[in-house]
Symmetry: C2
């Protein structure tokens, strides 16, 4: 798949991410259509000229017209969709996604797609604490990470095309990881951090000590504003990797606890120095 200005994109699922993809492509002069569940999203997208065509119907013609289809759905809905409507995707089409976990989805989707349809999985690591196409914004991708998650079933050409999508949308860092590497990474940098924010935010029953909070507490708990339906699904789909990261974290937290309990100031200072040095590394 060589992407050029005649390439026709179809977005399935026009929420915050799907809508931002649509805006990004349209902005750059590509053709974009959409299939999404709610009529209000269709109306919004057409009215704001984010897409050329949009419908709530799973329209075989729209599907077969697409060169590249981007699925922006919850993981289980993505699988259901391909099982039900995958047959409408024409040979030679490349499909990709935005799913936040990979091991559970990539092999599965690749195994149920019609022959000649290639799935190159990707994870745009961007988002906001709001939802829906009404809040979509192509700028959320600028400078962010875009991870392509290929398997041995993918062709170099389509891996390239999938990375090209990241470039078109303006991501700052585009890289490749295997599904297992991806899930381990995401378990640490994203899922674990959400677990910390949720646990911290639920420590006290009522608005209490937080009224005295400064920026640190606000920063740490910003992501405690969480879509529980989506995140609980993502957590369960990455359960083993996330539990490993939680264990790792707890080990370090208990180490610090032990130093404090035993008045081991040197031990605490060593951990703090290590944290400071590590943090500086990625502030550059």
């Amino acid at each position: 798949m060589i992407i050029n200005k005649n390439t026709r994109f179809l977005i399935v699922g026009l929420g915050l991410l799907g809508g931002s993809y649509a805006r990004g492509f349209t902005e750059k002069g590509y053709h974009v259509d959409a299939i999404t569940r709610s009529q209000s999203s269709v109306d919004y997208a057409l009215e704001h000229e984010i897409v050329e065509k949009a419908t709530t119907e799973v329209d075989p013609e729209l599907i077969s017209n697409a060169d590249i289809i981007i699925f922006s759905l919850y993981p289980h809905i993505f699988v259901d969709w391909i099982e039900q409507y995958g047959k409408y995707i024409k040979k030679g089409t490349m499909i990709t996604d935005v799913t936040g976990v990979k091991r559970c989805i990539v092999d599965k989707i690749q195994s149920i797609l019609p022959d000649g349809v290639e799935f190159v999985s990707a994870h745009p690591m961007a988002g906001r604490e709001v939802y829906g196409v009404e809040n979509s914004d192509e700028k959320i991708f600028f400078g962010a990470n875009y991870v392509v998650v290929p398997t041995e079933k993918n062709t170099e050409e389509n891996i390239e095309a999938c990375m090209r999508i990241g470039e078109i949308l303006g991501f700052g860092r585009i890289c490749q990881l295997s599904p297992a590497e991806h899930d381990e990474m995401i378990g640490f940098v994203s899922q674990l951090t959400h677990c910390l924010a949720v646990a911290l935010m639920t420590c006290y029953e009522h608005e209490h000590l937080e009224k005295y909070t400064g920026d640190s507490f606000r920063d740490l708990t910003r992501i405690a504003n969480i879509n529980e339906v989506m995140w609980s699904e993502l957590f369960l789909l990455n359960k083993d990797a996330l539990l490993r990261q939680m264990d790792l974290f707890m080990g370090q937290f208990e180490k610090l606890y032990g130093f404090l309990e035993n008045d081991d100031r040197e031990g605490m200072m060593d951990m703090m120095k290590c944290a400071t040095e590590r943090r500086k590394l990625f502030d550059k």
Copy 2:
């Protein structure tokens, strides 16, 4: 103590916080002098006209000229200073501080001060991840929390004066807490959050998964850039309260861990919903 434009402030310890106090008072037209350890801080403060007089000497005349003295020192240095030089403080002077823990310091200081010198403790909840008068900035206080921590030894008049300092400096929220309430609060909203950031940042030995990080990870670990000498002292001085907050957090974290381990999606979603609602409350 009624603060007016003839009031003479003396800052002891011209670092980030002391320097920001000095800038704030000077900006508003008050008289400010300083005593600090390093000649370079003295030179900087004089050159930038942050203070009127400054010296590295503990000058009895400068001390006895002050109406209000603000101590911006590490806790144990604050105590040492008062033990050694408290005798130079003239009767009727009010002293205050910026110390991040209170139970260990307030009674102690009040018990060793000369008669007629009143200590009203305060905690300006503001800071930056940089140090020194060169980085001081009165704007760090704008909109932040300023907690006055009076005891039964304090007079209404001087508690008022101490709160007035918070107003002059432009703090957004000025309130009173007892030393025990303060330390419990600070254990949760500040010390625990720093523990989380340090533990998270030390999970992996080398720059590793963090290169894939998005804003959440950056936000959570910003405060992992920590002054280990100061924070280890503050942690140890608030050990019991901080251990309690760490226990509380670990309980919630383990609860979430258990839900995930047992595929209890409802349990996870309940915690996430609670976190989301709680977080929204203090975003207003």
